[in-house]
């Protein structure tokens, strides 16, 4: 409503509608604020629950046994080291596979591909993110694991490498779309300046656009990492779940047990309140701490470099 349309006759109605509007505004604002705060509340509740159920593990089992290399919960051996290393190992491998591919795909989609190709590729990549992990796990078990066994000569196809391949694939959509957004947010003037300076298209991409988008790309990697470390179903189906220490190069071709798979596989049958139950929640706490640190790192990168022109 513009200023000029104000007339004396309209005053009372306007005052009323303004008040109603103000009230409505207030209600909506409160609602939104409550919703926002409830998210924080939920996170705190989850954390409190986790700590309440899992923390007793850390004083009921001596630290030396927790840092042991044997996880045999049926016989009260709760060495969680192989599980932590297993998760980190598979996640790291997955990133080694996914990051180059993801970043290059993002560069292609944003900088190289013609507009019509981008219009097809972007939604397709987002559809990839929607494939349920069980489906990918089944695919990995049925098709990737025989390839790992027969072509790469591993004794079994259910290995850390198979897990990393599936996880890397799962991290890709997140990685690509966030990295693509970061590239998209680099001002056009940067590219123009690069090209005007006589740089080739490749040089502009590699020396100007990608470095300018680096904080966003780092965030993309962190988010992909969060996706990979928290994944459960697909990992449980393809990694073989042997709680062994993934040390040495041959660990690639050996099975591995992740923290998430351990919780998922063993939660069904533990008696509530038992030491094993505490141990699974203890693993949950460790997993929560790791993902929290990853997200924190991602957020700090994002906030620190926001002024630098990475993300809008």
């Amino acid at each position: 409503m513009s200023e000029t349309s104000l007339r004396n006759a309209d005053r009372p109605r306007l005052a009323f509608s303004a008040r109603a509007k103000q009230w409505g505004e207030f209600a909506i604002e409160t609602l939104i604020r409550l919703m926002g705060l409830s998210t924080i509340g939920f996170v705190i509740l989850i954390l409190a629950f986790l700590v309440n159920e899992g923390a007793p593990l850390f004083w009921q089992v001596p630290l030396s046994s927790l840092l042991d290399t044997r996880w045999y919960p049926t016989f009260d051996l709760y060495g969680i080291l192989p599980l932590i290393l297993g998760s980190l190992f598979v996640t790291f491998l997955a990133l080694v596979l996914a990051v180059p591919l993801g970043v290059i795909t993002a560069v292609f989609v944003r900088e190289v591909a013609p507009a019509w190709a981008r219009d097809i590729l972007k939604p397709l990549i987002e559809v990839l993110a929607g494939i349920p992990s069980v489906v990918l796990g089944f695919f990995g078990m049925r098709y990737i694991s025989p390839i790992v066994r027969e072509v790469l000569g591993a004794p079994t196809g259910l290995t850390a490498l198979t897990g990393a391949l599936v996880l890397g694939y799962m991290a890709l959509p997140t990685l690509i779309s966030v990295a693509e957004d970061a590239l998209d947010a680099v001002p056009k003037t940067y590219r123009d300046a690069g090209l005007a300076m006589g740089a080739s298209r490749w040089q502009t991409i590699w020396r100007v656009t990608v470095p300018a988008a680096r904080p966003g790309i780092v965030t993309a990697i962190m988010l992909g990492m969060g996706r990979a470390i928290g994944e459960t179903m697909a990992v449980m189906m393809v990694t073989g779940n042997a709680a062994r220490m993934p040390l040495g190069l041959d660990a690639l071709m050996k099975p591995v047990r992740t923290m998430t798979a351990t919780i998922a596989a063993e939660m069904g049958e533990v008696a509530k309140g038992s030491l094993h139950y505490r141990a699974l929640f203890g693993i949950g706490i460790i997993l929560f701490a790791i993902t929290f640190l990853i997200n924190l790192a991602a957020a700090s990168v994002m906030f620190k470099r926001r002024a630098g022109g990475g993300l809008r």
């Binding site: 290399t69 189906m237 063993e266 049958e269 008696a271």
Partner: protein, 308 residues
């Protein structure tokens, strides 16, 4: 991710909260309606072993068709869970794939319950390999050495020059515990454990699947789960033999070394309907045992012979 800015993100979280709340309500409601359906007078509560749960369900379904005014509710959760419920007096029948422990008997007595064991079926644990694996037979000691990581190549036990890949069920399975005690520890007191390289498969089907595809694999599984895609190995108690194939007969005459009884535990003084149900299980109910791949008790073994 840019698309999911400000308000959209808030709405998305609102939606998530609503879905969560709705699902919680749903759970609560379905739980209470289930209780409301069961008339308390003729209800039998049956809980325990996950190995037995399918069989117990089949029994319950068949029995409820014969006796429509009896309602039997069957839940899994593991042998320990079932026995604990029996001790607490919340179930009439506890299913177990292992013996009740002395301390559990004691706890039950303190609650005025005297647990009585009923063998309801037998279960052979078959040791399986890939169809192309030339190994035909193994002694318990060889199986133990294989699973503890002492033997790591098939050539050491008369097979091809291939690494051995160990497959097992998850550690909370009763079958895992049984196999560890009777095969790996050979029924003796020891602290032998599965080698850390052992692949723990989430399901029995997973073991069959991997064994059927992988020529390096060795696995174990209840006889009921074994399909024609894998090869069953003959097992002997000692290296001299005799090497026995698992079957209803060899389980019943106690020659197959890795077979176990499956139990139902009741109070010493069960109600009449529980007593009748147990009697039915031990007589007509044994047909279902065979259908689900377990081994029926002795007097029915002859029927299986004819079918084979």
């Amino acid at each position: 991710m840019r698309g999911l800015a400000g308000p959209a993100r808030i709405w998305a979280s609102c939606l998530a909260v609503l879905v969560l709340a709705a699902s919680l309500c749903g759970c609560g409601r379905s739980g209470s309606s289930g209780e409301a359906q069961a008339p308390p007078a003729e209800a039998i509560e049956n809980k325990g072993s996950d190995t037995l749960v399918n069989l117990a369900l089949a029994w319950a379904e068949q029995y409820m068709q014969i006796e429509p005014n009896v309602r039997i509710s069957v839940t899994g959760g593991g042998s320990g869970t079932g026995i604990a419920a029996l001790i607490n007096g919340t179930v009439d029948l506890a299913n177990a794939s292992r013996d009740i422990k002395p301390e559990e008997i004691e706890a039950a007595r303190r609650n005025g319950i005297e647990p009585v064991e009923h063998v309801v079926a037998l279960d052979a644990i078959a040791v399986i390999v890939h169809l192309d694996n030339p190994v035909e037979r193994l002694s318990l000691e060889q199986i133990s050495d294989i699973y503890t990581g002492k033997i790591t190549n098939w050539s050491e036990i008369g097979g091809e020059d291939r690494p051995i890949v160990l497959l097992s069920r998850e550690s909370n399975s009763g079958t895992y515990v049984y196999f560890l005690e009777e095969a790996i520890r050979m029924g003796q007191e020891s602290d032998l454990l599965f080698a850390t390289d052992t692949l723990l498969m989430p399901s029995s089907e997973g073991i069959i699947e991997e064994t059927s595809q992988n020529r390096n694999a060795i696995g174990y599984d209840g006889l009921g789960y074994v399909t024609s895609h894998v090869k069953v190995v003959a097992v002997a108690r000692s290296a001299e033999g005799p090497f026995i194939m698992p079957s209803a007969d060899t389980v019943n005459d106690n020659t197959y070394p890795i077979a176990r009884p499956l139990y139902m535990y009741t109070d010493a003084d069960p109600s009449e309907r529980v007593q009748t149900y147990l009697e039915w299980i031990l007589s007509e109910g044994q047909v279902a045992v065979d259908d689900l791949g377990f081994v029926p008790l002795t007097e029915h073994a002859s029927e299986i012979d004819e079918r084979d």
